[in-house]
Structure formats: structure tokens, C-alpha cells
């Protein structure tokens, strides 16, 4: 999950890192977070003074107590610190050697896991073997560089040097697969996630030193041969790539230099150029007439944020206090909010209707969005939440008995534990910002009144409560009653005459094991099947008009797959049914509406926050 988060946000985070690099200031102390993906380095979660050998310990390969080695290691640490001052190795360790675990069996490692040799048969490309470094390249490097010396070209010199993401098949040379990139010695071609290479540079062989530089500022990569830059090889690189080498014929041996030795290529010079470039960019950045209007800018940022998320009353109060104007009129804010509420409650059908009514043509112009909404509607039908199904379920006393809980409640929801992965999961901050303020606020406000739903307590700003729904769920994990509280709160607001509240509170067991398709109602199921056909039809129509769309296909497949399992909530695609999944869609719809009104689709405050947040953890 963290991975996909990086995918969308790598760029800006890097800029931040770069700024830090630039001003040589130490990154602000990061707030401590647990990270699910840091599995292979559990020891590093404890902060505190850390010796230079920490990473090696984690890598589990280096002998300690050898004084010569310790000296070399200190030198390495020094060099890495100088090259990548913005990297906090406690959070994101730098690659220091090849991983003895993350390699194909035909690869042998020696010399402190820096030397790689081939030990397979080397008959054909099926015998190719790769090894990744112990850690991915931290985004905070800005510019990252490593070198590989060809000790021996072996029989045929089929050597590939490059980068790959975690999980890419190691029985291959770098560059042959998706998220894998390589420069090959036998033909000098570059391989960009493809079995066929592009003419790139000269061939390389025994004695040559090949360098690989990843520029995380513009997401490109270039290679060097014996200290000479060969020019850009790859663009649009994904984040979190690992240095990788691959060999294919017997006798091939290469040595890596992750900073243990001085590099042949003058990487400092290259870095200094970028530093100067960015310095210049900042120095020349036009401020113009906005100079000195900082207060207005700040107020505008706050106000636009409130408006964006539809905190109508707060926004009005803020505008009154600061004597500013709100960019969007009240009805428009309320409309947007109503639609958002509907989506978050899983009543997508109504949301679509409302959107079409309030913003005609919006969905017609956004067929992708409409399709996403309809897909979600289908999922919610399965869930039993969508109003079309829901109205049927509620009238059925049978279903009410068997499934007294709100159909929208997923027992897995509480366990999904959104709180633990704020960066990865929080959908409204698709710009990659760590949890926005409103979430934590609502969390705390909810936890202070955990029984508010039972008492049907009205809050002054109900909108906020709705927004907070999922977080409420997330926070009070383990207590399904409380989860329901959270959910019911909004059920209640939306449908105050729904009298099933009481059931919900006591329906622990039913919630956990007893959910059924469309709330178990026959008519609802039929309606769902019919809707599924309509959806299929819509997909075909879109294909005809706009050509095939792999994302749509996947979405549809996933949604329909739910029907294949007897218990959709506990199946491999069951994750779709979680209410958190609504949030992405909700913010996409909100952004689309805002864009149609010529308002920014992302609040400037979030952008600024993203740029200012400590980039250390991911």
C-alpha cells in the first residue's frame, strides 16, 4: 500500500527532500509511525543513537569485529552522509550491499555481499539471475548513484545493470519485466520493462566500470561508462527501486560500489549542477504583485480548504472574522456536501441522481467517473447499502431478523485499521500528504463522545461527523459496537425515521459472520443482477466510444467477482466492500464538481502541507 502511495506522490516529496538537501538543513524530527512495509527491518523502529553498522546488522551479512572492515564501513557511512545529507537512515536505509535473501539461486555473493558471481548453467535466457540491493533507493536522496565494476565478462558477457522494484522476478535480467530497468553489456542496449532493448550506449566488458544514476527529481536515469555519462536511459521511473544486477553466463563476476570507494564518475559535480539549478529556480521565482500579501494568501488557503471539504458554517464564520469572501456560494457547498454524504454512506445511486440533477452534464462529460460511480453502486448493492437494494431489504422483516446490523457494516472494517496506515490509505489526500487535520480532529471529537449515536445526539456541525465516519470506525478497533455507533450516527442523520438503530447496537455476532448478499433479499438480488447487466452494457458502450479501457475492465471484473463467493466479505476481492473504499470515489467526484465550477480540484492548503511535511517516512 505504501508502494502505491509513493507512486502517485513521489515527485513532490522529492522536491521537498531536495530543498532540504539544498539548504543543508537537517530534516525535522519525524513523528514516529509504524510502517507496515518496513517488515524486513524491524529493529529500526526504535529510535535512538544508531551506530553505522545498524543497516548491516539488519542485512544480516557482515562480520563484526574486523577492524579493517569497520574502518571501511565508517568511510562508507561518511561518504553516504555527504552524498545524501537529507536521508535519514533510521527511516529509509540506503543500499549498502546486495541482499543475500533477495536473489535468484544462480547468484553467488561474496566479499561482504558486494561481489556477485554467476553459478548457474547459463544455457539460455531462462538461466538469467538477478540480485537486488538490501534496500530501495530512498526518495530523499534527490540524486542517487552507484557503480558496478565488471571483474569478468565470463563466457558471453550477458550482464545487466539497473533497477527493479521489489517483487520483480529474479530469474531474469534487469529490464525485462514491468518495473525493471537495465543496461546490458553484450549489446549496449537499454531495456525499459521490455524483452526488447533499445540502442542506448556502447557495449561493456571486463575492466569497465558502469555507473547508474537515478535522478529522483525528474524521475530519470542515466548510466556512465568509465566515468563518462552516456545520457538519459529511462524517464518516468516509479519510486522505490532497488539497485539490481543480473548475470546469465558462467564466469561472470561484478563488484558493486555503493559508496565504499570513490566513484569513477564525478557525481558530486552532477549534484552541484542540480543544486545550482534549483537555487536559481527559487531565486528567479516570480513573486510579483503578490509580494507582501502573505496574510491574504494564508487566509485564502484556510478558507478554500474549508470550502473544499464543505465545512460550510466554519467557512462562513471564518469569512466573517477575517472579512474575506468565500469563493463558492453556500448552496453550492451544501449541494456538494449532500452528494459526498450519499457516496460515503454507500448510497451511490442517489448520489448519481443528485449529481445529475444539480450539475447537469457533469457526468456526461466524465464518462470514466460515471463508470466508477456505477461500479461502486453495484458493489454497494452487493453490500446491501445502496438505496435501490436497501429499500427492499428494510421492508423485509426476515432479513431484518437475520441481519439486524446495518448492511453497510463490514466486520472487516474495524480490522482494516486505517489509522495505522494513514499515508497509504487516506484517500482524500491523494496528493500524498500525511493525514489531514480534519481526520485527527474528528477522531478525537468522536472518541470523547462514543455513545453519541445511541443517544441520537445532534451535533452542531453534522457534516463533520459524517466525514469522520470511517475514522471513527478505524480508531475504535475491536469494539464492533462502537463501530456501529459511528455508522449509525450517519444512518440516523440521513434517515432519521429508520428504526433499526437499536438492533444495530446489539448485533455483534450477526455483524461478524452473518452478512449476506444484498442483505439476503431475493428482490434486491434480482435488482442487483439486472443492474450488473446494465453496467456491463455501459462498459461496452464506453468501449465503443472511447476504445478499450483496462482500468474499467479490471474494475468491472473485481466487482462481478464478488458474486462468485459465498461470503463476499471474506473473499480475496472482499476489500471492495469496505466503506473506506468509498472515499477515493467521493473525493474524485468532489474534485470533478469543483473543477466544473472552475475551482481548484485540490485545496491549496493540502498542496502546501504536502510540500512542507517531513518527507522522512513514507
Amino acid at each position: 500500500m505504501t508502494y502505491s502511495f509513493y507512486l502517485t506522490t513521489g515527485n513532490r516529496r522529492l522536491t521537498n527532500h531536495w530543498k532540504e538537501l539544498l539548504f543543508n538543513r537537517k530534516p525535522a524530527a519525524p513523528e514516529h509511525r509504524h510502517r507496515a512495509t518496513d517488515g524486513h527491518r524491524p529493529t529500526l523502529t526504535t529510535s535512538g543513537t544508531r551506530g553505522p553498522t545498524m543497516a548491516e546488522l539488519a542485512a544480516g551479512s557482515l562480520p563484526l569485529g574486523d577492524p579493517a572492515f569497520n574502518y571501511q564501513d565508517e568511510e562508507l557511512t561518511e561518504r553516504l552522509k555527504r552524498l545524501y545529507p537529507a536521508v535519514n537512515e533510521e527511516e529509509t536505509p540506503l543500499p549498502r550491499s546486495w541482499s543475500p535473501k533477495d536473489k535468484y539461486s544462480y547468484i553467488g555473493l561474496s566479499q561482504n555481499n558486494l561481489r556477485v558471481h554467476y553459478k548457474g548453467h547459463g544455457k539460455n535466457h531462462k538461466d538469467a539471475a538477478s540480485v537486488r540491493a538490501t534496500h530501495p533507493i530512498p526518495a530523499a536522496c534527490g540524486i542517487y548513484y552507484f557503480e558496478v565494476k565488471i571483474v569478468s565478462k565470463g563466457r558471453d558477457g550477458y550482464m545487466g545493470i539497473g533497477l527493479s522494484a521489489q517483487g520483480v522476478n529474479m530469474n531474469r535480467l534487469p529490464g525485462w519485466d514491468k518495473h525493471s530497468y537495465g543496461y546490458h553489456g553484450d549489446d549496449g542496449h537499454s531495456f525499459c520493462s521490455s524483452g526488447t532493448g533499445q540502442p542506448y550506449g556502447p557495449t561493456f566488458t571486463t575492466g569497465d566500470v558502469i555507473g547508474c544514476c537515478v535522478n529522483l527529481i525528474n524521475n530519470t536515469c542515466f548510466y556512465t561508462k568509465n566515468g563518462i555519462s552516456l545520457g538519459v536511459a529511462f524517464t518516468d521511473l516509479p519510486p522505490n527501486l532497488y539497485p539490481t544486477v543480473g548475470l546469465q553466463t558462467p564466469g561472470e563476476i561484478v563488484d558493486a560500489n555503493f559508496g565504499q570507494q570513490p566513484f569513477v564518475f564525478d557525481i558530486d559535480d552532477y549534484m552541484s549542477e542540480w543544486r545550482a539549478k534549483i537555487h536559481g529556480m527559487i531565486a528567479r521565482f516570480p513573486i510579483g504583485e503578490r509580494l507582501g500579501e502573505w496574510q491574504a494568501v494564508l487566509q485564502n488557503m484556510v478558507s478554500s480548504y474549508l470550502v473544499h471539504h464543505g465545512y460550510c458554517a466554519t467557512a462562513t464564520a471564518f469569512a466573517r472574522a477575517t472579512e474575506t469572501l468565500i469563493q463558492e456560494d453556500q448552496t453550492s457547498i451544501k449541494n456538494r456536501q449532500r452528494i459526498q454524504k450519499l457516496v460515503l454512506a454507500g448510497r451511490v445511486g442517489e448520489a448519481i441522481e443528485a449529481t445529475q440533477q444539480l450539475y447537469p452534464n457533469l457526468l456526461e462529460h466524465n464518462p470514466n467517473l460515471l463508470f466508477m460511480l456505477k461500479c461502486r453502486q453495484f458493489v454497494e448493492m452487493v453490500n446491501g447499502t445502496d438505496s435501490e437494494v436497501r429499500c427492499l431489504t428494510i421492508r423485509s422483516p426476515k432479513s431484518q431478523d437475520s441481519y439486524p446490523g446495518s448492511p453497510s457494516l463490514s466486520p472487516r472494517h474495524g480490522a482494516s485499521n486505517t489509522h495505522l496506515q494513514p499515508g497509504g490509505e487516506s484517500p482524500t489526500c491523494s496528493n500524498g500528504v500525511t493525514p489531514p487535520i480534519n481526520y485527527s480532529e474528528s477522531n478525537s471529537s468522536d472518541s470523547t463522545k462514543p455513545h453519541s449515536a445511541n443517544s441520537t445526539q445532534e451535533t452542531s456541525d453534522s457534516e463533520m461527523e459524517i466525514e469522520a465516519e470511517h475514522y471513527t470506525n478505524g480508531v475504535v478497533e475491536g469494539s464492533s459496537a462502537r463501530i456501529m455507533n459511528g455508522t449509525y450516527k450517519h444512518e440516523e442523520i440521513l434517515q432519521p425515521d429508520d428504526n433499526s438503530i437499536g438492533n444495530g447496537v446489539t448485533a455483534d455476532e450477526g455483524c461478524i459472520n452473518g452478512k449476506q448478499l444484498c442483505g439476503g433479499n431475493q428482490a434486491a438480488t434480482e435488482r442487483m443482477i439486472q443492474f450488473g447487466r446494465e453496467l456491463q452494457g455501459l462498459n461496452e458502450q464506453l468501449c465503443r466510444e472511447y476504445g478499450k479501457n483496462a482500468t474499467h475492465k479490471k474494475m468491472l471484473q473485481d466487482a462481478f467477482s464478488l458474486l462468485a463467493y459465498s461470503d463476499p466479505w471474506n473473499c480475496p476481492v472482499g476489500q471492495q466492500l469496505e466503506p473506506t473504499q468509498r472515499e477515493t470515489l467521493c473525493s474524485a467526484l468532489n474534485s470533478a464538481i469543483l473543477e466544473s465550477q472552475n475551482l481548484p480540484k485540490q485545496p491549496p492548503l493540502m498542496l502546501a502541507l504536502g510540500q512542507a511535511t517531513d518527507p522522512g517516512p513514507g
Partner: protein
Amino acid sequence: MACLLEAPLRISVLSEVTATSRHYVDRLFDPDPQKVLQGVIDMKNAVIGNNKQKANLIVLGAVPRLLYLLQQSSSSLELRTECSVVLGSLAMGTENNIKSLVDCHIIPALLQGLLCPDLIFIEACLRCLRTVFISPVTPVQLLYTDPTVIPHLMSLLSRSQRTQEYITQIFSHCCKTPEHQTVLFNHGAIQNIAPLLISPSYKVRMQALKCFSVLAYENTQVSMTLVNVLVDGELLSQVFVRMMQRDQPIEMQLTAAKCLTYMCRAGAIKTDDSCIVLKTLPCLVRMCSKEHLLEERVEGAETLAYLMEPDVELQRIASTTDHLVAMLADYFKYPSSVSAITDIKRLDHDLKHAHELRQAAFKLYASLGSNDEDIRKKITETENMMDRIVSGLSESSIKVRLAAVRCLHSLSRSVQQLRTSFHDHAVWKPLMKLLQNAPDEVLVMASSTLCNLLLEFSPSKEPILESGVIELLCSLTQSDSPALRVNGIWALMNMAFQADQKVKVEIVRCLGTEQLFRLLSDPDTNVLMKTLGLLRNLLSTRPHIDQIMSSHGKQIMQAVTLILEAEHSIEVKEQTLCILANIGDGNTAKDLIMTNDDMLQKIKYYMGHSNVKLQLAATFCISNLIWNEEDGKGSGSQGSQERQDKLREMGFVDILHKLTQAPDSSLSDRAKTAMQQYLA
């Protein structure tokens, strides 16, 4: 009014002269020195940034008066300083202003002023001199007319940062010839300017650097001295390397790279030195990239072309650096289609540099491809490359045409390209057109390229022959330029290789025996060698030998005798003996040798020569003479018997016998084959 202006200009300007301008000039003549000073100061304020006012004042004769005041020792220092400031301001105007100032002898007056001890005044004079000297209309020679000037300027270098900046700027603009370089060098330019490279002022550092680049250009003496200079304990080359760092201003990187390039080309730095391979070359390649100004890209490409011209290893490295070959293709995209519509200013800028960019790219391609076959292939495979060269050959700009033909020449050294892309794009057509009416520079390159296109495996050879090239080439052999003579005769030589009888006859007819023999006594060895080569190619296959020898035998034998008797290199003699061997291969032509005892004695002499090559060629000739006829003609076999007998009588058999024991295997083999003819 001492200043000379072009008549029409004077009239138009005069008509606009206002009373105020006149008033400023009048005040310079006030008897009260204080009022004169105030007048000059007011004038200074009036002319700043006002070209019209400047022109007016010049027309009204302010310059001679200002110069007079400046030179008068009775004038106060303040007045003299203000005068030079005003003059400097006038010089900042148009080129016509500069011309007027120079015509009024401003330069000697200001140089004289430098002798004054006052620093402020000196700086004002230097600033004005600088402005005058950096203008293209000022003759640089004026700096060198008085031999005391340069040493005095050197001594002023220590006075202040301003004097340093102005003086180095003057030097870098006025050092245009090897003589200038020598004058500056002899007056200690290197020692005096080197410390300025670490001046705290960027301007001083930059101007000092420029000075070194003009001083070192094609100057071994300067370059050799530069490598040993230490600046603050650091070698000069290292200082230059530091100035090439990527975070330095582009102008500084580029100029430092030029300095090192010139030092390298002058032999002061080896081409495999890391400061060249890892620093200078990559820096220059970077300068060619799209992100830089057009001027910088032109300079970068030209300097890089110059740097690697003689060194194949540098060419190989450059060809793989940062996709240089592909990067250069962008040089041909100006003015871009976007600039035409969106921005007139940009279009104008692009147009101005389009020729420069193209010629720079051609030069760099030529340099890149001059040795390595793979690089040539890479170049010709670049998008539309051959089309670009073809259209470059007929461009209006001579510079582009020359560069394009250089590039073509470089690529024409590739057998593969001659066979493929050259033929596909019919490059011979524009090339022939270019040869019709071109300056010598272009002609040398074009004819040299033509030589390659006439090689026997070139498919272009046939169409070129049909286009009447022989006459053109024959006329080239009569040129005053040895390079053109060589190329002319070389092309004819290539053309005659394995050619039809018709072509050979045409060559001999067109060139004329007289010219042929004149070329055999050409002072240029290259010309002589190629002429012998032509003869050798003409004299191949028996019928051709006999036909040519029957009509020109006498002269050819004469020429051969002359060359063998004269002082010539081994190569020339070898080539000549080969011609004899070819003659000996003819049916009737043989007799020309057999009946010439003198010639046979010469052959005998060369068979016993200390040089194996000559022995081999002479043995070859004898072998041909004693060869048993196999074509079944009765008279032939009888003739061979006679010849064998005669040669035996002359002692050739003994020599051949001795040669069968020669340590050189090809020689002994040749002798053995010849001996077998006797046994047969």
C-alpha cells in the same frame, strides 16, 4: 570639425541639432575652468543612454575639445577624468560613434593618459579604451603601434580590480594573430594574468580566463608554458578544471574548456589525460545540449570538433557521451516552426544563428566520423542526415557549404557508406555542382571527397564519369595549390583503376602527355606518387599496356629513367619499378625494356638493393620479362626463349639464384618462381 562622418549621415544629424546640444559644446570653451568642469559634468549627465544626443555632440565637435582638455596638463585631474568619462559614454553609442572617436585619435590620447599616476583617472581612461577596443570597427593594431604600451598595461594590472578587468578585456579582444600572442607572451602576460584567475571578482576571473584562451590558441609556446604555471600552489590546468564545474556560469565553463582544448591541441596536455577525457570533453558535450543558448551551443560544438579532430579515442568517447550524435540533429531545427508563429523576436534570433548552428554541427559530425567506421554508421543513421548534408552542400552560406562538404568527406572514408547511403542520396550531384565554381578551401574538400567517390567499388563512379568529370580533374592538376593538384591526380588515379580502355584513353588524351610528365617532376612528393600510381593503373592488363606503350612508350621510358636516376624516396622508386614490371607484362611493350640495356642494368642494380621492397619490385619486373608465354602463339614462346637467354647472359640468373636464398620469404618465393621459368 575634425571628425569625419559619412556625408548623408552628417546632413540628417545636422538638421536635428538642437540649440541645447550646441550649448553643451559652447560651455567647453568657457574661460573659467570651473565652468568648463561643470559643463563637462552636465554633458555627462545629458548623454547617458541618449544615442541621439551623443551623435549631436560628436557632429558639433565636442570630441576634439574633450580630448584637448583631457590631454592638457593644466587641466585639473577632476576635469580630465570627467572628460574621459564623457568620451567613454560617447563610445557606448553606435558603431559610427566609435569610428568618429577613433578618427579623432582618441586611442593615443587615452594611452597617453595612462601615464598619469592618478588611479581614478587611469581607470576612466581604461574603461573608455576598453569600450573602444571591444568594438569590431576598431583596428586592433592600434594597441601595438607604440611598443611601450603593452609593458605599461602589464604594470597597471596590479593597481586595482577595475584596471585588471579592463586591461584583460582589452587583451582578449586585441589578441588576434600569432604575432599578438608573442608580443603579449614576451611581456609576461602569463605570469601577470595567472594570479587574476583566483581574483575575488567574477568579472576579473572571467576576463583573465578569456585572455588565456586567446593566448593559447594554436600556440605551442604559450600552451607549454601554461601547463607549468602554478596559481596559489595549484596547477593552472586544475584551476581550469575547477572553472568547468557544473555549477559555474556557462560562460566560464565554456571558456575554461576552450583553454584546456587549446593546450591539448598544442600538445601541452595529452589527449588521454583525465582532465581532457573526464572533464573537458564531457563539458563541451554538455554545451551542445538543448538547454543552452544558441551561441553557446555553436561554440561548444566547434571547440569539441577541434579538440577531438586528431584523436580517434576521443572521437569514440564523444560519440557515446550523452547521446551527442542524436543531440546534434537538433542543430538543424532552427528556426523552429513554433518560433515563426509565436514570437518574432525569437524567429529573428533563430534565423541569425541557424547557419552557425548548422555549420557547427557539420564540423562536429566531420570530426566525430573522421576515423571510426561505427561512428560513421551512427551518424548516417541519424534522422535525415544525408538529406541535410546534400542540402547543406548547396546552401548560400559558404561556411555551411564548407562544413557540409567536410562532413561528407569524413563519411566518404567508409566503404559501406559509399556503397549505400552515398549512392542512395546521389551525393555526387551536388558535389559536382559544388566543384564547378568554388573557392579553393571548398574545392580541396570537395575534390578530396570526389577521390573517394571514384574508388572502384563506389557505385557513384559510373554516373560521375558520365558527367564529364575528367576534364575538371585534369584542370585541377594544373592548380597552384599542391593540395588541389594531389586531389586531381589522385581522383584520376582512382578512376583509372581497373577502368575500361575507353576511360584510360580519355584520361591520357585529356591530361595530355606533357602535363603528365610535368606532374612526374612535381616538387610535391604526394603529387609525384599519385601520378606514378595513375601510370601504374593505366598500364594494367596486357592490351592496355601495349596500346599505351605503343603511343607513349618513349616518353614513359624516359620519365622512368629520370626518376630512377634522381634522388627520390624508396616509395617513389618502388612505385616506378612497379610501373616497369607492368610494362614488362605487355606483349610488345616488353621489348621497350629488353632493347634498353641501360634499363636492364638499373633493374639488376635494384635486385641487389639493400631495401627488400625495391628488390621485390625489380625481381617482379624480371620475372615478367622471362615469363613463358602460355597463350599458344608460336612467336611468343620463341620470344621468351630469346629473352631468357639474353637475361642469362647478363647475369640475371645468378642474381635470381642468390635471391632464392633471401631471408625475406616473399622475395625468395618470387625468385624461385622466376627460376622455374628457366626450367620449364
